[in-house]
């Protein structure tokens, strides 16, 4: 991701950052492009957020994700960045555990 595209993208992080959702589908990637070579293996997931949005996001390092897991969107390093030394941060998901055991209902599970 080059610096200019990265700048444009981070203006959209508010669409999912901090939100809680449920994993609809997930896969563990063992062979990636060069920007993620230093973090394989990692999970890549389709997440349904409680407000109805669906996003495709990487999971945080060392997270083991399964379909149906409750997750929260957080800000983490997403790649090695470009040659101009941009440290590429962006939205990722990690498992969500609410201390009261209350989870948001998954919207539209049949979608």
């Amino acid at each position: 991701m080059n610096a200019i595209n990265y700048w444009r993208q981070n203006k959209k992080w508010n669409l999912c950052l901090g939100k809680i959702g449920t994993v609809f589908s997930c896969t563990k990637i063992y062979a990636s492009g060069s920007e993620q070579n230093n973090i394989i293996p990692y999970f890549f997931c389709i997440v349904d957020f409680a407000d109805g949005g669906r996003f495709e996001l990487m999971a945080c390092a060392n997270e083991e994700i399964n379909i149906g897991d409750h997750v929260q969107c957080v800000l983490r390093k997403i790649g090695t960045g470009d040659k101009k030394n941009i440290i590429a941060y962006g939205p990722k998901i990690k498992k969500y555990e609410n201390s009261q055991g209350i989870f948001p209902r998954q919207s539209n599970p049949e979608r």
Binding site: T27, I46, E56
Partner: protein, 372 residues
């Protein structure tokens, strides 16, 4: 119904594989020269050229392929480059047909080419990933996107590991008869089941390879006796990113394309005896044979495991070995599918054939129906 006759006058497919001694231009000219030699068409009869290629600009630092193709001919016919990721070939054939139907051209040449193996694997992975939504699907690979489709499909229909593996085993067996195939080697269910995980649950032998290759066909409005014809075609689209699709257990673009093609040809899925479908990953063939109407939704894996998609079965799927065993030089695949089915119909091995070419994770799909 197609209002004009669209005859296929000749075909050529190069060897697919890691072709170290052949450059992009070598492959392009090999296919053009080969198809002219395999037909009775003179070079000066070619009114236009349609070039299918996904990413020569990235793989080979070469764009403007239409100009390179045109300069093969002393009369420099008008030439176009079509790109729709892995559906580039299907789109080029469709565009050529539209050019003929418009009355603008009488005889055209369609050539697909891709030279992928000069780049290292992670670079190829990155380039192929640009067929996804690079912003909304950042961090995904192509295997990952199809793995997500596999997970969704398995979750709903319970398709097991062996049914996925059966697709790869069948296509490798089919490729034993195809001297142009990248892999002419049988594999077993156990070998597929135990191959390295690429993106769970997809394993190495679930995935089509990185390949070099080219293919070409010549199409004409001339009604040549006994030459196979394209009698129907269809083109469907869907959201490029999976998150915005309404259903992840089917490829809507395929269903749209198939419905249009069948309607134009005046046929149904039951009339198709042989098909070259887009098996970039094993799950892709299972989805294809369902979305094209050959088998009910959720039964494609069982049908494959029960040998219903091989010789002697209900329908022969990917007799060439498909993308999995024949290889997948991206821009060439859709044209090679047309070439394969054309040759089978010309030799009277089957009455009606179908080709199915998909772009990306299913955002684009093109279907052609061929008969004599």
């Amino acid at each position: 119904m197609i209002t004009k006759n669209i005859s296929i006058l000749g075909s050529y497919t190069s060897k697919f594989g890691e072709l170290w001694d052949k450059s992009l231009a070598d492959l392009l000219f090999e296919a053009i020269g080969g198809v002219l030699k395999n037909s009775t068409v003179e070079p000066d009869q070619i009114d236009a050229i349609f070039v299918a290629n996904m990413a020569a600009g990235s793989f080979n630092d070469q764009r403007h392929l239409n100009a390179i193709a045109s300069q093969y001919f002393v009369h420099f016919p008008p030439a176009y480059r079509l790109e729709g990721a892995c559906a580039s070939g299907g789109l080029a054939v469709e565009s050529a047909v539209l050019g003929l139907l418009s009355g603008m051209y009488k005889t055209v040449l369609v050539v697909g080419v891709e030279k992928m193996t000069d780049s290292e694997v992670s670079k190829v992975t990155e380039i192929l990933a640009t067929a996804a939504n690079t912003n909304l699907e950042y961090g995904a690979t192509f295997a990952a996107l199809y793995a997500l489709l596999t997970q969704a499909y398995q979750n709903k229909f319970g398709t097991n590991r062996e049914q996925l593996s059966a697709v790869a085993v069948k296509n490798h067996r089919h490729a034993l008869k195809n001297t142009n195939a990248q892999f002419q080697k049988e594999i077993t269910i156990d070998q597929v089941n135990n191959s390295t995980v690429v993106s769970s649950p997809l394993r190495l032998l679930d995935c089509s390879p990185i390949s070099d290759g080219s293919a070409a066909v010549i199409l004409s409005v001339e009604n040549v006796k006994n030459k196979p014809k394209i009698i129907g075609f269809g083109h469907g689209q869907d959201s490029i990113d999976l998150a915005r699709r309404t259903n992840l257990t089917e490829l809507k673009a395929t269903k749209i394309a198939a419905e249009k093609a069948y309607r134009m040809a005046g046929l149904t899925a039951k009339d198709i005896a042989v098909a070259e479908v887009h098996d970039c990953f094993t799950i892709a063939e299972i989805l294809a044979i369902e979305d094209l109407g050959f088998f009910a939704k959720g039964t494609g894996g069982i049908a494959t495991a029960e040998d219903k998609t091989t010789f002697g079965g209900t329908i022969v799927i990917n007799p060439s070995g498909g993308l999995k065993a024949c290889g997948h030089p991206v821009g060439a695949t859709g044209v090679k599918q047309i070439a394969n089915i054309y040759e089978l119909i010309a030799e009277d091995q089957y009455a009606v054939g179908l080709t199915h070419n998909v772009g990306g994770s299913g955002a684009t799909a093109v279907v052609h129906i061929i008969t004599k």
